[in-house]
């Protein structure tokens, strides 16, 4: 989640000469090989298949495709809806970030987990819930007769729903650690409340806000399920269009061109993000988050808290509640009981077994993501100047690319690229965790990196001087300090794997469906029981996600003091 987590520079420390460089390039080899084989190779294979017809490159297609008015319309819509979604998310979530950072109130920990649940829910579930909320007979309809289900507002609000937590966690995380006394000092010196905020807090927060905004922009620019379900046939993002061209229309060359366009756009976004992150690595005066929050005072603050809680209730909790309500809409938990039977032959197994499958896959994906992401983070820990530094930073950005590449591209790529021994993985179970790990790794790296960087290099050097081997240094110095971050990274990779839908749906085997895949299949059939079971499974998925996030919250609280204790 904390993809744009604040990175705080530890005190300057002496750099040891090149001795470590070779070792670190060695550490990078495993993640590089992993991404090369399971990401770059399949994506390149499917793109080449689209652009190379009968052995001849058809680069002319790029111009042709981009000249089509329909495609231009898609590009335009993709961009402006992402901008609008980002602006709206910031507008609604920034007050939330402030409230989470500065106010102490009962149930805060649970609430923080709750606002994160949407981020890991599969879009197929969310789309259904949102239709029920914004569509006919939804809350807005009942209160004011307003329906948004065929308008762009439905898409924008669902994007806020998904990305609220990105802003709250990224910006709020830093905000909580900014020393309020700095602002107080400015006021003491005669600045107005607003001036103090503008000149003291805003500059410190700015980079975190920018980073969060860029991540929201990235997620909404590549939005798929939300747009497909809520947008109807009239609205289409680049990602949806790639899916249609590949999967439905089977026009691989158009899909390949669009994949390249999206690749370029995502690359640009990540490059800007990388710059922002670096800019953020200026030393800030940080304090323990626990010390800055206090109970709201005065009518204004209480009103702000109430407003934020209200917006969370309407925008985030209500859609989730609709799911639960619909899943209970049969006497005596009927839909839940039906999950244990194998009535329809849709799955060959009782749908409830999808829970076990999902957990197993998610464990395996987490293990892979921790291994790959952990090695990558270890390799990226030290910041270097010069060419090596650029190489390392480039690698850092590359790890994020899977978040911005269409799942259908990866899925079809797997199909044609991983079909020959020794990589004939098409029909093996490991393909699912591998695909899920691709999206899990960036989370692991983002979580581990700041903590690893915060480990004082002098400790490592001291250990080395005393004769410890590099492995021993890592085990005795780094590991104990990052173990909590490791668990948190594992938790996020786990939750993200659990909800991963786009790639999984392509490769999950019918007798081993995951939760999101089973939900989608149930929704694809007529009949009350199927529909009710889909809602029941969605609710179970939501609960599993919520519980793992709640556990994370507990760990996180501990971590914060670990980290900040160093400064």
């Amino acid at each position: 989640m904390d993809l744009a987590r604040t990175e705080v520079a530890p005190p300057a420390r002496p750099r040891s000469p090149h001795r470590g460089s070779v070792a670190r390039l060695g550490l990078m080899a495993v993640p590089v090989a992993f991404f090369g084989v399971f990401f770059a190779y399949p994506v390149v294979a499917i793109t080449v298949r689209g652009l190379k017809v009968d052995g001849v490159w058809r680069f002319g297609r790029i111009g042709d495709v981009l000249a089509q008015p329909d495609i231009r319309h898609v590009l335009w819509f993709t961009t402006w809806q992402a901008l609008a979604s980002t602006a709206l998310t910031l507008l609604i979530a920034l007050p939330g970030a402030y409230v989470f950072a500065r106010f102490e109130f009962r149930g805060k920990q649970i609430l923080r987990a709750v606002v994160t649940v949407p981020f890991v829910l599969p879009t197929v579930v969310v789309g259904t819930a949102f239709l029920a909320l914004l569509g006919r007979g939804g809350l807005l309809d009942e209160l004011w007769g307003v329906r948004l289900d065929t308008t762009v507002w439905a898409i924008l609000l669902a994007h806020v729903f998904f990305n609220y937590a990105v802003v709250v966690r990224t910006v709020g995380g830093l905000w909580a650690q900014l020393d309020p006394r700095q602002e107080e000092a400015a006021r003491m010196l005669g600045a107005s409340r607003f001036t103090a905020w503008r000149t003291v807090t805003l500059p410190a927060l700015g980079p975190a806000v920018a980073a969060a905004a860029l991540m929201v922009f990235l997620f909404t620019f590549t939005s798929f399920g939300v747009v497909q379900i809520l947008g109807g046939p009239t609205f289409s993002t680049l990602e949806v269009e790639i899916y249609r061209q590949t999967s439905e229309i089977f026009d691989l060359s158009t899909a390949a061109v669009l994949t390249l366009v999206q690749f370029a756009a995502v690359g640009a976004i990540l490059a800007v993000h990388a710059r922002t992150v670096r800019r953020r690595e200026t030393a800030l005066r940080l304090v323990d988050a626990g010390a800055t929050a206090r109970r709201p005072r005065g009518a204004g603050q209480w009103a702000l808290l109430a407003g934020v809680l209200g917006s969370i209730a309407v925008l985030l909790v209500l859609p989730l509640a609709v799911l639960v309500e619909r899943s209970l809409d049969a006497p005596g938990f009927g839909y839940y009981k039906a999950l244990t039977r194998n009535e329809g032959s849709l799955f060959l197994v009782p749908p409830i077994e999808a829970v076990g499958n999902s957990l197993r896959y998610a464990f395996a994906a987490t293990a892979i993501a921790l291994l790959i992401g952990g090695l990558a983070a270890a390799a990226l820990t030290r910041r270097d100047a010069g060419r090596l530094g650029r190489l390392v930073r480039g690698f850092d950005a590359l790890l994020m690319l899977p978040l911005g590449v269409s799942a259908v591209t990866v899925g079809f790529g797997f199909l044609i690229a991983l079909d020959e021994p020794p990589l004939d993985l098409r029909s093996t179970w490991i393909l699912v965790p591998l695909a899920q790990a691709l999206v899990g790794v960036p989370f692991v790296v983002r979580t581990m990196l700041p903590v690893l960087r915060a480990v004082d290099g002098r400790l490592r050097e001291a250990a080395a001087v005393l004769g410890a081997s590099p492995w021993r240094v890592w085990r005795e110095v780094d590991l104990p300090m990052v173990r909590r971050a490791l668990l948190i990274a594992a938790g996020f990779a786990f939750a993200v794997s659990l909800g991963e839908f786009g790639a999984t749906v392509f490769i999950a085997r019918p007798d081993n469906p995951t939760l999101p895949v089973a939900v989608a299949r149930l929704l694809g059939r007529a009949g009350e029981l199927n529909y009710g079971q889909a809602m029941a499974l969605s609710t179970i998925l939501m609960l599993v996600c919520a519980v793992s996030l709640l556990v994370l919250e507990r760990l996180r609280t501990g971590l914060r003091s670990d980290r900040t204790g160093e400064f």
Partner: protein, 365 residues
């Protein structure tokens, strides 16, 4: 910081994870044993997500033939075909089931199948037979894409449900119909083809202009149309769907009964008999199949009486073999259309992409 206990804990976690992975891989390898079918005892059937059957029926085949059947469901109908074409040089299985008449030409033109005339093919009803000179595909089932109506809504509004394409453009049915995007949804495409069959090359666009003027709503997929927008389905009722007419299947009404608890005496929905387009699904032996003998036996089995009679309640489709019985619930709540529209696969092949394109700019833009 309690370093030592922390380290121990991590070690434990690592060991446990390692063990877990080992167990997982053991499970993985055991259930994918002999997966590539190179041992000629395994035959792999590639199909779409809607493929369903009774376990015992397939077991009977395995027992009789000595082959072990592995089923690979590979996405929705369109995706499964596209993936099969992408992988045709090194296919994922031996037999592909589930390419329908709307996509048949794509599969044949891309050389997806090799010739095989199934044993028992002479029992298939004549109207379903295609590709008679090369026998690359064998028809397996048929179904009708039709407008469904919400019985309760029409009786509450004292209105007779529509029965034909012509009815749908009448003012009394204004703003009542929801259909699917023809470029992304198989029933949506079927409905478009039905109008093309009915009104011909010169007439269908005019028909759709009138349908659009009469307030037809287009959504992307069947799930949304049927479970969210349609007022007559179980899902749609909960979602307070407000369109009493939806493009779905002739077999949707029996599904509404069979998947209800308690089961109603009559289906809550009905079918507008004159709005149907017939969809036929085929199976074929994949080019470059590794186990051709097993594949042939499997295709024979698919048109055997046992499997044919097993299909209706599993996939909500009708058998194509003469004399195969259809369960009572099926005929009672959802009889096949008496006189559905049909189009020759060649005509679909020549026009499909063009029609969808014109339809998109006509209806969606």
């Amino acid at each position: 910081m309690s370093t030592i206990s922390g380290t121990k804990k991590i070690t434990a976690v690592v060991v446990a994870t390692g063990l877990g992975l080992a167990v997982l891989s053991a499970c993985g390898s055991s259930d994918s044993g002999g997966e590539d079918g190179s041992g000629s005892k395994t035959v792999t059937l590639v199909s779409h997500d809607s493929f369903a059957y009774t376990k015992d029926v397939l077991k009977a085949f395995e027992k009789e033939s000595g082959y072990k059947v592995r089923v690979l469901k590979d996405g929705d109908a369109g995706q499964a075909v596209n993936k099969a074409i992408l992988t045709k040089d090194n296919p994922q299985g031996d037999v592909f089931f589930g390419v329908d008449n709307t996509l048949l030409s794509r599969a044949l033109d891309n050389g997806l199948f090799q010739s095989y005339e199934a044993e028992g093919a002479d029992g298939i009803q004549a109207q379903y037979r295609v590709d008679q000179d090369k026998h690359r595909v064998t028809p397996i089932d048929s179904g009708d894409i039709c407008v469904n109506y919400d019985k309760a809504w029409f009786s509450a509004h004292k209105l007779t449900p529509p029965t034909s394409f012509d009815d749908l453009i009448k003012p009394e049915y204004k703003d009542l119909l929801v259909t699917e995007n023809a470029s992304t949804s198989s029933p949506g495409l079927g409905f478009l083809l039905g109008t093309a069959a009915k009104y011909g090359d010169d007439g269908w666009e005019g028909y759709w202009k009138k349908l659009k003027a009469n307030g037809v709503k287009v959504v992307d997929g069947w799930e949304q149309a049927y479970n969210e927008e349609f007022s007559g389905s179980a899902g749609g009722k909960k979602a307070k769907g407000e369109r009493p007419l939806v493009v779905s299947y002739a077999s949707s009404p029996p599904a509404e009964v069979i998947y209800a608890d308690p089961k109603p005496r009559t289906a809550p929905t009905g079918v507008a008999d004159g709005t149907c387009f017939r969809q036929v699904e085929y199976a074929g032996l994949l080019s470059n199949a590794k186990n051709t003998e097993g594949g042939k036996a499997l295709i024979d089995f698919l048109i055997g009486r046992q499997f044919q009679e097993d299909m209706p309640l599993n996939m909500f489709v009708y058998p194509v073999v003469e004399g195969a019985k259809v369960p009572d619930a099926f005929t009672q709540y959802g009889p096949a259309a008496a006189d559905p529209e049909t189009l020759a696969p060649a005509r679909i092949a020549d026009n499909r992409d063009e029609w969808v394109k014109s339809w998109t700019s006509l209806v969606l833009k």
